[in-house]
Structure formats: structure tokens, C-alpha cells
């Protein structure tokens, strides 16, 4: 695997009506798989320019406007739905509930190929043009706004570690105001082992729910009256969310012709279910290593695991030990 030599920044893309139900257990921001898929589709458009291709995508959200509402007297949200055209006989169609959201995102794409600075800038502009004809997570991308800060940017990476760090410090300012989506399996593991001290059969789902909801406990220390207890919310800092990160196989891999109605007759086919992990929205200031930001897609056909992976926590460990 070749290390990336440059970053392509697609700043402030405004996306309309992206899918806001990214899995069977959650709603909100689209799954990282939607973005790795988008970047893969973009990469395919540039096979003549890029030989080695892309090495991951960073996802930063600046604005988020889901199409939901809270019915009067309810404590839960519902999706604003569209009325679909009637059927041939004039009867209404079955309503399939969809969730949609408008959002503004910046994408940071790591590029493996080396391009001279001028070529790189040209490529960045071309990529931006192509991007505006594509869709992200099912949503359409609105036309680019005027202004330099909305132009695609090309950032050649430094070779030495120190130079890299400095560059990242400058670069991450471009991502503000916003939050980057990263994966936190370390915090999930930590919570799971805490839960298991009291409840040996606790599972990752229990830990995931525990970390992403509000837990009101009657035995929190009272900061005003030392030694006394009061009601409070047991919570740790950080904006933690459940995110679907990929799929697990439920069936063997079928040859294309074995499955009726498959999308094409040459690609192997598999039934799968969504896999969930713990995500965190972090301030771009937290990023001290490029690997903390990037998402990659991985596939292990033998194990039947197809997933996106982000190495925020691993890179965090190396970054801290690196400083110390």
C-alpha cells in the first residue's frame, strides 16, 4: 500500500435530500459507507490521471438540517414524507417511509499518486467539476458558491513527520466550523468491560446504547455539598453516536446467475445485514495525525465482513506516545 502524497479538499459541499436513515437502528447523518462509495465512484472517473488512486476519505460536517418534525404532544421525531405519484389505476402507492436531510460537508481525500503542484491544482478543479454532477448518499449536490473558500484545494503532503504535523495544523483550520466523524471502538470496548464488572453477560449492544443515551442516576456527587448525593446525568464528554459501518454476510457468496433478479449477471452476490459501531463527532482541532481523519473500505470475503474503518483511536495512541 502506498502512502498518500497529497490531500484533495472538497470544501463545503451542500447536499440536498441525502438519505437520513442509514441503517435499521439509527437515523441522522449518512453512513461512512456512503462517502467511501462516493469517493470510489469519483476515483473511477480519473483512472487516466491517477494510477494508484485514493487512500481514504475524511468526513467533516458543517451544517445539518434533517427533514423531520416532532408531532404535538410526542417526545419522538417523525420524518417528513413525500407524496408519491398514484398507481396506474389511480390508487395511492404503498408508503415507504424515507428519511431525508440537507447538509453541508467537506470531504478530505487522500491521494496516493504524486502530482506536481500545478497538475495537482488542475486535478482538484477537474474533480470539483465532476463532483457537482454526482450524488452523495442519494442526495444531490447544489451548485458551487462563488468565493475562494469554496474552491477545491490541493495540499501536497510533507515527507517528514514534523512537517506533516505542521501542515495538518494549518489544514484543519480549513475544516472549521465543523465536526469530523471518527470511529471509537476503544471507548466502546472500555464501556463494555466496565459493564461486565457488574453484569457478566453484557454485550456490545448494551455498551453502545449506554454510551449514546442519557443515563439519569440518583447517586451522583453534589458539587455544591461535598459528600452528599443528588440526581444527575452520568455522562462522559464527547459527542458519541451509533453509526453503521458496513455489512456482515448472512449467506454464502453466490455466483451471479444463482440469484434471481440480481442487478447484473456477472457480479457475485451475497445477502448481508448492517453492522454498527460507535462513532464520535470530534472537533478538527483534535486531529494530530492524518490517519485519525480518514475512512477506508475493507472487505474480507472469507469471513464475510464488508466494512469501513477509521483509525482515530489507534492513531491517537501513537500520536500521544510520539509526543511523550
Amino acid at each position: 500500500m502506498t502512502e498518500p502524497t497529497a490531500l484533495l479538499l472538497l470544501p463545503r459541499l451542500r447536499v440536498q435530500n441525502a438519505n437520513a436513515i442509514s441503517g435499521p437502528l439509527s437515523w441522522g447523518f449518512p453512513s461512512p459507507t456512503a462517502f467511501t462509495g462516493f469517493v470510489h465512484a469519483l476515483e473511477r472517473q480519473f483512472t487516466s490521471v491517477l494510477e494508484k488512486g485514493f487512500a481514504g476519505v475524511g468526513i467533516v460536517c458543517h451544517d445539518f438540517e434533517p427533514q423531520i418534525s416532532q408531532p404535538a404532544g410526542k417526545r419522538t421525531q417523525v420524518f417528513r414524507l413525500t407524496r408519491n405519484p398514484v398507481g396506474k389505476d389511480g390508487s395511492t402507492q404503498a408508503l415507504v417511509e424515507e428519511g431525508r436531510t440537507h447538509m453541508e460537508v467537506s470531504l478530505v481525500i487522500a491521494v496516493r499518486d504524486y502530482l506536481p503542484a500545478r497538475k495537482g491544482r488542475e486535478f482538484a478543479d477537474d474533480a470539483m467539476t465532476v463532483v457537482h454532477g454526482m450524488r452523495i448518499a442519494g442526495g444531490s449536490i447544489l451548485p458551487k458558491r462563488e468565493g475562494r473558500r469554496f474552491d477545491a484545494q490541493w495540499w501536497p503532503l510533507e515527507e517528514d513527520l514534523e512537517g506533516q504535523r505542521l501542515l495538518l495544523r494549518k489544514f484543519r483550520r480549513r475544516l472549521l466550523p465543523g465536526f469530523a466523524l471518527v470511529e471509537r471502538p476503544d471507548r466502546l470496548a472500555e464501556r463494555l468491560s466496565e459493564l461486565r464488572e457488574r453484569q457478566p453477560d453484557a454485550c456490545a449492544l448494551d455498551a453502545l446504547l449506554d454510551l449514546t443515551r442519557l443515563n439519569f442516576d440518583p447517586d451522583m456527587p453534589d458539587p455544591e455539598k461535598p459528600g452528599e448525593l443528588r440526581w444527575g446525568i452520568r455522562r462522559k464528554p464527547g459527542w458519541l453516536v451509533p453509526i453503521p459501518v458496513g455489512y456482515a454476510a448472512l449467506s454464502p457468496l453466490y455466483a451471479a446467475e444463482e440469484v434471481a433478479n440480481s442487478r447484473d449477471d456477472s457480479t457475485p452476490f451475497r445477502f448481508v445485514e448492517s453492522l454498527y459501531s460507535l462513532g464520535e463527532w470530534v472537533s478538527p482541532h483534535r486531529l494530530t495525525d492524518l490517519n485519525q481523519l480518514l475512512w477506508y473500505s475493507e472487505a474480507d470475503s472469507a469471513k464475510g465482513i464488508y466494512r469501513c474503518i477509521n483509525r482515530y483511536s489507534q492513531a491517537m495512541e501513537t500520536a500521544t506516545t510520539g509526543i511523550a
Binding site: L25, T76, P185, R213, F216, P218, R230, W231
Partner: protein
């Protein structure tokens, strides 16, 4: 093994369970029949004879399937393979899927009119269901079904197939199929199915947390600030997705039990619900009130205060790290607030209502320097970064020093060194402003 001597599962017992089941189904039907409808009464009695009913059930069992993953949730008109699968055991322990949960509640899809067959197969005898017995080829069950061995075996085989997909594997034009790129070249087509059993587990958990008597009592104690043996849980911004409209049973049995609703946990970015950025006018410093009023800042301060109260007399690496982490989150908020404010039209500090100190003007309206030379000179002249750091430090100190817990001299000194370290990091960030 299933037929060992001490097994409580006997042919007689199975027959009795089946008889009771049929009697229970027959009774309400008979009550609806009018006095004079003799033929109807006879027909019902005949249909509920065990041999006849079981034969009929074995015929109809093909119309339903026991599943854990169903297709119809994707689209009610989608036809194709649904599966009965315990999830992928190869998946990592920290990845949540059907493999994560121990007890899987099975769902049933297919013709809702054949659901009585499912109820029949779920009858319990000696801790096992008739379905379990049919799958293991239990001889007591076989004898209970019929004296005709061939006949009984064929019925059992039909029932045992309940969880097997019918026919050739199939997807559908209304189903989802996505291309996943493989290492090197080529793709796999992935067809996600809805994990109805896993969803059932999650929905039951959330429902319990929201509506159980225990949770209600704890919530009441919280409102009244009374002590209580346990806490309760809230799922903020939970959304409801409906399946099947007014006929949830058309999607699946468990969907019907969930009233056609699925709970979706919120995975929204923090920027959602934050107030629009407006120029901070009519104030001398954003640290006076504006910054501290932000909901996330208030939350973080509360967490930090609670934390400091809890660890008052202890001091170790973990505590120092957590404290630094919490302060770093507040620092993030400062920088985010600044970035949001900088989104305002350059030159907003020229507004006559603007009373902001010079340091913060240079910080929060940097692009004004491009069009205003004297302002540019001002910003390069003063070291506004120091000013910002000092104000942040003063603000944080004031927020954390409550009158009830005055800091001792030692603590105060320790706290000061913590602050200095944190402020240095803040200063480093500000240095990268160009």
C-alpha cells in the same frame, strides 16, 4: 437422546397439548355459529379433528417462513429471499449485529392467514416446541401425528422446513443491492436484509426504558428530587419509522407486535440544533455571557464540575488525563465559537453596536484586516492572542471556583499549573491563525 426414558416428552402428552390447542381455537368459532347452522357446526368440528387439521397445516406451512432477517421492510411489494440466520459469528465482538445478542426472537413472514400454523408449531412440550421436535425428527411427535409412519414423516418434514428460504435465492427490483469494491478489482453485490430480530431486541429495550413502571417511578422521583434505588434512561431525538401503514402484519409478525413502528437512535452531528451565528455585539467580551450560554459549553462545565467534585481528594494519572480531556473539550468549543463567528460578513466589528475589546475584534473578524489597513496594523501591533488566553483562563477559573468549595493554597497552585499548560495549548492553536 430426545427420546430417552426420563424424557417428559411422550406421545400422549403431545396429543393432549395439540388437542387443547385445537379445542381452544374451535370454541370461539362454535360460539359464533347460529343454532340452526348444523352443517357449519359439523364442518368446524371435522376441520378441528387433529389428523385433518395437521394435514391442512402441513399443506399451508409453505406459505410462511420463520426468519431473523426480512426483505419486506425495504419495500412492502418486494418479493424474494428472507433468511433465518444467527448473524455472522466472524464479526468482531465490538461490531453490533444479530450475532451480538444471545436470545434471538424469531419473526414470521408470509401469508398472515397461515399464522395459526406458526402458533401450533410454537406449542411447548417438555421445554421444547413442536417445531424443535419436528426438526430433530422426534419419534414421539411422529407417533402423535399419525400411525401412518410415511404420512407423519412427510408432515414433520414440511414443518421442519419452516425456517428454510423457499425456492431459489432471489432479490427483487424493490430490494436494495449495492456494489462493494473488492481488493484489486471487481465487486461483490451486497443485498442488505432488515434484521427484524435484532431490531425487536432494541425496540423492547427502549420501550422498557421509556414506559415500564420502574422507569416511570424513577422519573417521578427525579422530578421531585427524591432519592431512589435506581436511575432511568432517556433516548434524545429518537425517531419513529413506520412499516406497513395500517396493516403492519403484512410486513411480518414481529412488525405487528411492534405496532409497525421502529425506534431509530439519533446519530446527528453536534451542529444540529445549535443557534445561528450572529455577530457578538453589545458586549465587551464573549466570555462575559455569550460563550458560557452555549448548551454544549454548559453541559461540559457541568460534567467538569461533577468530575472535580467526585475526585476532590484523589489525584492520579487517570484523573489528570480526564481533567485535561474535559478542558480540551472546552477549548474546542472556544475555537468552534470563533470559527462560527468568523463566518459573519467581514467587517462586522465596524457596527456601531460593537463594544468588543480589541483583542477579540482581531480574533473574531480577521478578514476585516484585508480591507482596513489601520485595523490590520492594530492586530499586528497588539498581542491579542495573550489577551484571549487570559480571558479564557479567567472565565474558566470563575466557572469552576464555587463559594462552597474554596480552593486551598496547594490546590490553587496545582490548578494554576494545569491552566497554564492548557492555555499554552490554546496559544499554540491561535498561533496558526493566518
Amino acid at each position: 437422546m430426545a427420546n430417552s426414558a426420563e424424557s417428559p416428552i411422550s406421545t400422549a402428552l403431545i396429543r393432549q397439548v395439540i388437542k387443547d390447542f385445537l379445542q381452544e381455537r374451535l370454541q370461539p368459532k362454535l360460539e359464533r355459529v347460529k343454532e340452526n347452522e348444523v352443517h357449519e357446526r359439523e364442518r368446524l368440528l371435522k376441520d378441528h379433528q387433529p389428523a385433518r387439521w395437521i394435514a391442512n397445516a402441513a399443506n399451508r406451512v409453505g406459505q410462511i417462513q420463520q426468519v431473523t432477517h426480512a426483505l419486506k421492510y425495504t419495500h412492502p411489494d418486494a418479493k424474494g429471499t428472507s433468511l433465518n440466520a444467527p448473524g455472522n459469528p466472524e464479526a468482531d465482538e465490538l461490531l453490533v449485529g444479530t450475532h451480538t445478542i444471545d436470545e434471538v426472537t424469531a419473526d414470521v413472514v408470509g401469508n398472515a392467514a397461515a399464522l395459526d400454523v406458526y402458533k401450533f408449531l410454537k406449542l411447548q412440550v417438555g421445554g421444547k416446541t413442536l417445531l424443535d421436535l419436528a426438526i430433530e425428527g422426534n419419534t414421539a411427535l411422529q407417533a402423535a401425528f399419525s400411525n401412518d409412519e410415511e404420512q407423519a414423516k412427510s408432515w414433520m418434514a414440511a414443518f421442519a422446513d419452516l425456517s428454510k428460504p423457499k425456492g431459489q435465492p432471489a432479490s427483487h427490483k424493490f430490494a436494495k443491492q449495492l456494489y462493494w469494491p473488492m481488493e484489486g478489482n471487481g465487486y461483490h453485490l451486497l443485498a442488505p436484509l432488515f434484521p427484524t430480530s435484532l431490531v425487536h431486541h432494541v425496540v423492547s429495550t427502549i420501550r422498557e426504558d421509556r414506559f415500564s413502571e420502574e422507569a416511570k417511578a424513577a422519573r417521578k422521583a427525579y422530578r421531585e428530587r427524591e432519592p431512589y434505588p435506581h436511575g432511568f434512561r432517556e433516548y434524545p431525538h429518537l425517531a419513529i419509522q413506520n412499516f406497513g401503514g395500517t396493516k403492519p402484519q403484512n410486513i411480518s409478525q414481529l412488525n405487528s407486535e411492534r405496532y409497525g413502528e421502529n425506534y431509530l437512535l439519533a446519530a446527528v452531528p453536534p451542529l444540529w440544533l445549535s443557534e445561528p451565528v450572529r455577530p457578538p455585539l453589545r458586549t465587551e467580551s464573549i466570555f462575559d455571557r455569550l460563550f458560557g450560554r452555549r448548551p454544549r459549553v454548559r453541559d461540559l462545565l457541568r460534567i467538569l464540575r461533577d468530575f472535580l467534585a467526585r475526585v476532590q481528594d484523589v489525584n492520579n494519572v487517570r484523573i489528570r488525563n480526564t481533567r485535561a480531556e474535559l478542558i480540551a473539550h472546552l477549548r474546542d468549543e472556544v475555537l468552534l465559537f470563533a470559527a462560527e463567528t468568523q463566518e459573519n460578513e467581514p467587517g462586522w466589528t465596524l457596527d456601531e453596536m460593537c463594544r468588543l475589546n480589541v483583542d477579540e475584534q482581531c480574533w473574531l473578524d480577521p478578514e476585516r484586516a484585508g480591507q482596513d489597513e489601520s485595523f490590520a496594523a492594530l492586530c499586528t501591533g497588539v498581542d491579542w492572542r495573550d489577551g484571549i488566553c487570559r480571558r479564557f483562563a479567567n472565565w474558566l477559573n470563575a466557572q469552576l471556583t464555587s463559594t462552597q468549595t474554596p480552593m486551598g493554597e496547594l490546590e490553587a497552585r496545582e490548578w494554576q499549573s494545569v491552566m497554564e499548560k492548557e492555555i499554552n495549548l490554546m496559544r499554540m492553536e491561535l498561533d496558526f491563525y493566518d
